[in-house]
Subunit: 128 residues, 6 copies
Amino acid sequence: MRKQLSTRILTAIMTTDHAYAHCDLPCGVYDPAQARLEAESVKACMEKYHASDDPEFKTRAIAIKEARSHLVKEHLWVLWTDYFKPPHFEKYPQLNDLFNQATKLAGAGGTKGTVDVVVADQLLGKDR
Amino acid sequence: MRKQLSTRILTAIMTTDHAYAHCDLPCGVYDPAQARLEAESVKACMEKYHASDDPEFKTRAIAIKEARSHLVKEHLWVLWTDYFKPPHFEKYPQLNDLFNQATKLAGAGGTKGTVDVVVADQLLGKDR
Amino acid sequence: MRKQLSTRILTAIMTTDHAYAHCDLPCGVYDPAQARLEAESVKACMEKYHASDDPEFKTRAIAIKEARSHLVKEHLWVLWTDYFKPPHFEKYPQLNDLFNQATKLAGAGGTKGTVDVVVADQLLGKDR
Amino acid sequence: MRKQLSTRILTAIMTTDHAYAHCDLPCGVYDPAQARLEAESVKACMEKYHASDDPEFKTRAIAIKEARSHLVKEHLWVLWTDYFKPPHFEKYPQLNDLFNQATKLAGAGGTKGTVDVVVADQLLGKDR
Amino acid sequence: MRKQLSTRILTAIMTTDHAYAHCDLPCGVYDPAQARLEAESVKACMEKYHASDDPEFKTRAIAIKEARSHLVKEHLWVLWTDYFKPPHFEKYPQLNDLFNQATKLAGAGGTKGTVDVVVADQLLGKDR
Amino acid sequence: MRKQLSTRILTAIMTTDHAYAHCDLPCGVYDPAQARLEAESVKACMEKYHASDDPEFKTRAIAIKEARSHLVKEHLWVLWTDYFKPPHFEKYPQLNDLFNQATKLAGAGGTKGTVDVVVADQLLGKDR
């Protein structure tokens, strides 16, 4: 269910012609790479978690995945607030939903709260 | 113009029956006090900035206002993503706009980018 | 023993007429809500830890409890140093002890080092 | 006046046989070097501030001094809460006052709020 | 002089077949985009600094440029330590010098200590 | 093997006549104590990890060790970039290797990725 809703969310967000407000001067440097890189790191942490039998390593993997998931949220929030202007929201009325779902997918109900690689793929906009 | 749009934004957000998702366990502790306190601090920093003739103090006031404005954004983002669920957004269709405008008001186009106390009052949901 | 000593510590601290120095401009915004909210979050993390059988979730609960306990310490330290002035300490000679015990209760010998909800209640000034 | 009060505060704190609780495991590593190094950095930032005519450099010096002053506070708070136990406070009844005054000296009423090198020397326990 | 030395440093670093160790699990996600984006932000902050007459804005631009320059250093350090292995250093004996010069270029002797756009271009590996 | 390579690395780094660039003003305060203290904390966290049977405590020990190992890397990176100048590198051609190996020893392939006290001793420049 959640899967259906979230499929292609990040794909949609990351393949449109927008980008990430980089700092709050604002400096005007925009690039979707930051959120996507963190999301890829989240997925890689999950895969390494499953491939390991070392409880210490698994503990580290969970903690680092938590931090990287949070960075996904941060980069998406910055984009939603700082990059997109009223004309964008008028032109793409689904933007609010996409960002709300994507940040939820990177939160406790998403990649923070699970080691299920499927959820990381949903965050990355890939269905399985 | 912006003033009209933003009037009562925070009032609306902060007086409804919702609250702030406190951490991403999630722990379930919710309270609007955190965002409001930071917004009050932003306003106080602006007032102290204007009341001072000391260039060192004014530099410090700007830097601290920047950090506190950012915390307003953070607390509001957490609420928007972590506390509100689909039923809230259905019941209050204006929620997305309110949060987008409020976080913008705490950003570079708002309290980060100005020492105008009127903008801080807008963030606090007070008109003048 | 520790229980007897610490009973009503936070109650005492949080119900007097003082408040929290919010930033170090200082901005003059004071409110006890910040420390109390974090302490409530600590307790909620412990309760969720006990209610779960998922080892990943339990790892996350411990890490988040650690961070939130630290924020309790931070908010109390700021109050002790920045809000209270010599006249307060003269009028309330027990203030130093109260804050020292309360910050210890939020540290490794307190809520950082245990998942015992009783200790969180002591931090919150509630006896059992 | 403040000068008289604070003279030898840090000297007293930093020359007794105690040390700094290093982390909140607690790991048991104690050393007064951390607070002292940050205090020396605060003083050096002030001296470089005065020696420069470059407004950009002076802005940077104030911001970095602010951050370093805050680290002095942090290291002293950790020591006060985490290293010292009840027997220390019984043996040295002035400990609470010393730490409260020293952290105030590193705050807005001290090295954060001024570029006066005399105040940094007071924080370092040196009179002039 | 410095210019000659540093020309093409980042170009060299960022166009070889290596990449950035993303976290210290390590997760294995590598991409040079992070350092380059921050360096572009540094340059943009400098340009906005020069284009403005607002002292408050200029103060903000300096502070944000400082933070972004620091992120360039961080990303480069991570790469130098975590991505490159002994075989890389044997194959590219100039790697140590390149990274040392590039991180210096992003530090106090480089983009942190100046608003000269030429230095940002050197960091970005562009000559003028 | 790694042991042989890394033996006396930190000893070499920490017993020469250099020191740590403390901040990026730069303030000019240099002291090797910061990296060494964090490395000692890393080792103490490992020892406490082994001495405990409490899974919660062991989780905390791993997380805190991770953070402290990272601080070792940070302090060493600052020294390598900010303190050492070209003449140092000419005089001590092994400096690059020493720092690269030492920061690797404090990373995922070193004290972050293990609870083996021998590795902490290698980081501290002590052979066994």
